[in-house]
């Protein structure tokens, strides 16, 4: 499923300008950056509460399809700026991590 299709089905806030044509290969949920660095794969959508700029660096290096901030966490201006430069899509929602993982999982499985 492409990110654009996910955005049509689940109304997430969009914080950065980036390519939504990327394929979502799976999801990964973690607030530990080394965990994501070591265990996520290219194209994964990353569900997290961490919003600082290093999240953008990890997402760019791992070529993740998007990052979604849960529990109404909002990225800093510095993060948004870096994401625009690095073509990293930053999303957000008021829902918690458990719920977000569930809805994205169901959507990916239904394909």
């Amino acid at each position: 499923m492409k990110v654009s299709e996910l955005l049509e089905k689940l109304q997430y806030n969009v914080f950065s300008k980036a390519d939504t044509d990327k394929e979502i290969t799976a999801g990964y949920a973690s607030d530990l950056l080394s965990d994501v660095m070591g265990n996520s794969s290219e194209g994964n959508i990353w569900v997290t509460m961490q919003t600082h700029k290093n999240v953008v660096a990890v997402a760019a290096l791992k070529e993740l399809s998007a990052v979604i901030f849960t529990n109404s966490n909002i990225p800093s201006d510095e993060s948004i700026e870096a994401a625009n430069e690095e073509n990293v899509l930053l999303l957000g929602t008021s829902k918690g991590t458990f719920e977000v993982c569930g809805e994205i999982y169901n959507l990916l499985e239904s394909k």
Binding site: D31, L32, L33, S34, D35, M37, G38, E42, T48, Q50, H52, K53, N54, V55, A57, V58, A60, L61, K62, E78, E86
Partner: protein, 136 residues
């Protein structure tokens, strides 16, 4: 090909910048994507270690037909026990660094897992050298 980058200790806002630059070069050289993915994980972790623990450091990368050789030198506090530092979950990171989602004690194990050869030398009060090779 020979590349050199400087890394500033404590500057989290630039952490990962050198790793990103090196990744771009490896892509331009058409290095096998699977090899690039492993190098990027090891590089990023080692770069963040300099930012989180040291005062300053540099990254030296040499690429030839058979391998990518990376050396990260820092001036910093050094590692009293490399054996302990290699243990999963062991970390000396500050509470602030942990709050950012670093310092989970996964960095060095990630480096070990994603390199073909790894050598770490450290002198307490002087600094640390992380030297790794990935074969192409």
């Amino acid at each position: 090909m020979h590349l050199e980058y400087k890394v500033q200790g404590g500057n989290f806002s630039k952490a990962g910048h050198a790793s990103g630059e090196i990744k771009k070069v490896l892509k331009q050289l058409n290095v096998n994507p699977m090899v690039i993915k492993r190098i990027v994980v090891a590089l990023y972790e080692a770069e963040v270690n300099i930012v989180a623990h040291a005062y300053e450091g540099d990254i030296i990368v040499d690429i030839d037909d058979s391998k990518v050789h990376v050396v990260l030198n820092d001036s910093g506090p050094g590692i009293p026990s490399i054996e302990r530092a290699m243990e999963k979950g062991y970390s000396t990171a500050s509470p602030l660094v942990r709050e950012m989602g670093f310092g989970a004690g996964m960095g060095l194990p990630n480096i070990k897992k994603n390199t073909d050869e790894l050598n770490i030398k450290s002198v307490v009060g002087v600094g640390t050298t992380v030297d790794f090779i990935n074969y192409l």
